[in-house]
């Protein structure tokens, strides 16, 4: 996870971050991100890109650069649980949209890592909103297996990938059926058949003549089958989740994570029992499709109460551009606590659902997602409650490096703060 700093001259729009240094952030309300209560007037110490300590009685090392966070909040950076970050600049402009590679003829083998472009404006814009890491998944096209996703950081450098091939992504439910010939029966058949082909490939029996998979795809699926690579599955409906849990019993080594899960509350006990974590869309509350008839904003709270490990994600919900909605979504789930009959999360739980929990679900909780010692120093200083609409990130640190917060949106803002033209056209105002 080394950051190769690019030359400032190459990308004039970005300031180049200074290299990792020893930093002490003092006086703020410190949120560790593991679900524990905030610590008043805490100190966070960062060295060599890692968290050294965070807490109430932490000594400031000699020579550390001090950031005074008195009156502010200090948290781990937001870990966006499911996104398409960096895979498109303008969604409807095809040349800039790399979300789906499904027409390439490949499926499970597709690896989004090289398509994640840190110079796309979504990086700078969401970084300025306190998002520091993201799960980045491909979109499916003609196969239920969309390919391999990555974990990315939002640092202003040329190396966005924290972990390539961190998971395989698959579509079940309505979208999966559409990719598998029009029926959920086809989805299950495809799933089994492709896993069998992967096994054949491993045993040297793969022919790849009439097979569903190419050799590259089989290789990628084999690692799913062995449990070396997580399988993130988009699934919304209760029945689809139950049937997937049966497949899980058939292929016990597969590490399944469900994504979307609008009807998760209906099978919450079963999910907890099966030990399947979920990356849930927080605010789905409409029967947008027939597999979401039971959608409710109380979904996350109810699953959590049943013992399901729940992170917040945003599949198919402006997921390449608006990662900055993550804090708002978490805040809404906190607000549900005050609605009679609804089930929400406490503030501490909600913040963990956008920091440590997604990191843990992705198997990187020992390296990312909280302010515990040894984690990558992704730290954000906020001017208020980070889940509140009026708050903003005022300092963003990724891997121990303080980040620039400038982006083309605030350049346009500055140009047009007073829209009437002066002595020269606006084009000269910069």
């Amino acid at each position: 996870m080394r950051h190769f700093l690019y030359a400032a001259s190459a990308v004039a729009a970005f300031a180049t971050p200074i290299a990792a240094e020893t930093i002490a952030i003092t006086g703020g309300r410190v949120v560790v991100g593991d679900g524990s209560a905030p610590i008043e007037r805490g100190t966070v110490v960062i060295r060599d890109g890692k968290i050294i300590a965070a807490g109430a009685n932490v000594a400031v090392p000699a020579g550390a650069r001090k950031i005074d966070a008195t009156g502010n909040w200090v948290t781990p950076g937001v870990f966006a649980g499911f996104t398409r970050l960096g895979l498109s600049e303008v969604d409807a402009v095809n040349g800039t949209n790399d979300k789906s590679g499904g027409k390439s003829g490949f499926s499970a083998a597709i690896d989004v890592a090289p398509a994640i472009d840190p110079f796309r404006s979504s990086f700078a814009i969401n970084r300025a909103a306190g998002v520091t890491r993201a799960v980045v998944a491909p979109e499916a096209a003609d196969n239920i297996f969309a390919g391999q996703g990555a974990i990315a950081d939002l640092g202003a450098d040329s190396n966005p990938v924290t972990k390539a091939r961190a998971f395989q992504f698959a579509e079940f439910g309505e979208d999966g059926a559409a990719s598998a010939g029009g029926s959920r029966a086809g989805t299950h058949l495809h799933f089994r058949a492709m896993l069998r082909e992967a096994q054949d490939y491993a045993a040297g029996r793969g022919t790849f003549d009439d097979d569903l998979l190419k050799a590259e795809d089989a290789k990628a699926l084999l690692s799913v089958l062995k449990g070396e690579t997580r399988l993130l599955i988009h699934v919304e409906g209760a029945n689809d989740m139950l049937r997937l849990m049966e497949l899980k019993r058939e292929f016990p080594a597969i590490k399944m994570v469900f994504v979307g899960v609008s009807e998760g509350w209906r099978v919450a006990r079963e999910l907890a029992q099966a030990g399947i974590p979920v990356v849930a869309s927080a605010l789905n509350d409409l029967p947008a499709t027939f597999e979401m008839l039971g959608a409710t904003q109380s979904n996350i709270g109810r699953m959590k109460d049943a013992g399901v490990q729940v992170a917040i994600g945003m599949i198919n919900d402006r997921d390449s551009h608006q990662l900055r909605y993550t804090t708002q979504y978490a805040g809404n789930i906190v607000g549900l606590q005050y609605v009679p009959g609804a089930t929400g999360l406490t503030w501490d739980e909600a913040f963990s659902a956008i920091s440590s929990v997604p990191a843990e679900i992705m198997g990187v909780g020992d390296r990312l997602g909280s302010l515990k010692a040894g984690r990558a120093a992704d730290v954000v200083v906020w001017d208020g409650d980070p889940l509140e609409l009026s708050s903003a990130a005022i300092a963003v640190i990724i891997d121990g490096i303080e980040q620039p917060l400038a982006n083309r949106q605030n350049r346009l803002r500055d140009r047009y703060a007073r829209p009437t033209e002066g002595d020269l056209p606006k084009a000269y105002d910069r």
């Binding site: 969604d91 605010l283 947008a288 945003m314 708002q328 809404n332 609605v339 609409l389 949106q409």
Partner: protein, 465 residues
Amino acid sequence: MKSNLLWSILAAPLALMACSNADGPKTASATPASAPAEKVPAPFPSTYKAYPGVATAIRNVTIYDGEGGKIDNGVVFMTSGKISSVGGPDTIIPPGVNVVDGAGKFVTPGIIDIHSHLGNYPSPSVEAHSDGNEATSPTTPEVWAEHSVWPQDPGFSRALANGGVTALQVLPGSANLMGGRSVVLKNVYARTVQGMKFPDAPYGLKMACGENPKRVYGSKGRMPSTRMGNIAVNRQTWIQAQEYKKKRDSGKEYTRDLGMETLAGVLDGDISIQNHCYRADEMALVLDMAKEFGYKVSTFHHAVESYKIADLLRDNKVCSAVWADWWGFKMEAYDAIPENAAILHNAGACVIIHSDDENQIQRLNQEAAKAQADGRRMGFNISDAEVIKWLTYNPAKALGISDKTGSLKAGKMADVVLWNGNPLSVYARPDKVWIDGALMFDASNPKIRPVSDFELGQPGEGDVK
């Protein structure tokens, strides 16, 4: 949450589904009629009637009146479906009325969404219910959105319970340059769309600039396929409308034409223009086109680049209905910035926060709060009470219903939201919503919460949503 940019971006697939190949900017349903135009009752009249309410006073509450006013520790008193008084702690509450204690809570007028597709792109989002774009001709002023509204859309209940929405404008989509008439609804379920129609609300005409019309028709090898084509087809159609109006007004016999009736209604000043338009330069062209033909644009919708011409929009008295921060989903949304609303407001132009989305209609208050905060960070301090105006009085004015609703003034409809906290906080939700003085949502009473026919007997029916 499927992002519903369907009508914003993806009009093309809908257009491809359509089967008619009607040509040019002609309008349908030309039927012979006798002249001169006699005053006939408007067709499809509203049958909405206020539901019974009891005289209610909310006291000890923070009031944002919708016109920029704030009262601490105030009283809102409503009776017979109307606001009867709004004031400070000394406001007289008649004996024997229902009193709601609002300690720690906030009152606003009912929220109004000027841009919705509830009913014509309802949930579930299935082709069979996708009735928002008559994408078979670039100009279809003859279609009326109300004929596409499915009154059982579950979205109405969410907009009420989570968003405090009491009125909304349902618009045709943006595939066409002239998409058809809009309809303003009360957010009250009814068996028929007539039962939801806001009594005596003026009609609007949906128009659209930019990418959508040129893509939808260009992809069919038809005009318009360019922005210059967009303007040319519009102007040609306005010329026809002027001729129609002249004929109609001459007292001689003429043939009724549904589309031309709508356009003549615009030229008469009876129907407002609700114009989907993203880019600043295109808005400026539309304003000149409006001058050429003598009509007025009420509101530019989506208007992500309004901030670039805030002075022009102020001088022309045109509102901008905007999102807080949508950006990047299509080329004409590339220069969107979160400070759009604040820059407009600071320049003295009219701001409305709209949704175009069945999810964000549940959080218009939150979208406004984000836009306010982005303004504050650039040094534009806009008070909470002013920001509430973006969701209440301003949309009411742009829809021509501000004499009836949109602010807490004596004599207006008692469309009132009691919030369990400051509505500009992420943690706040509606506690109670009254429409015309009738309690239509109560967070503490599951029976005062609508469940559409579609959801009855389904998983989670009547559940906390």
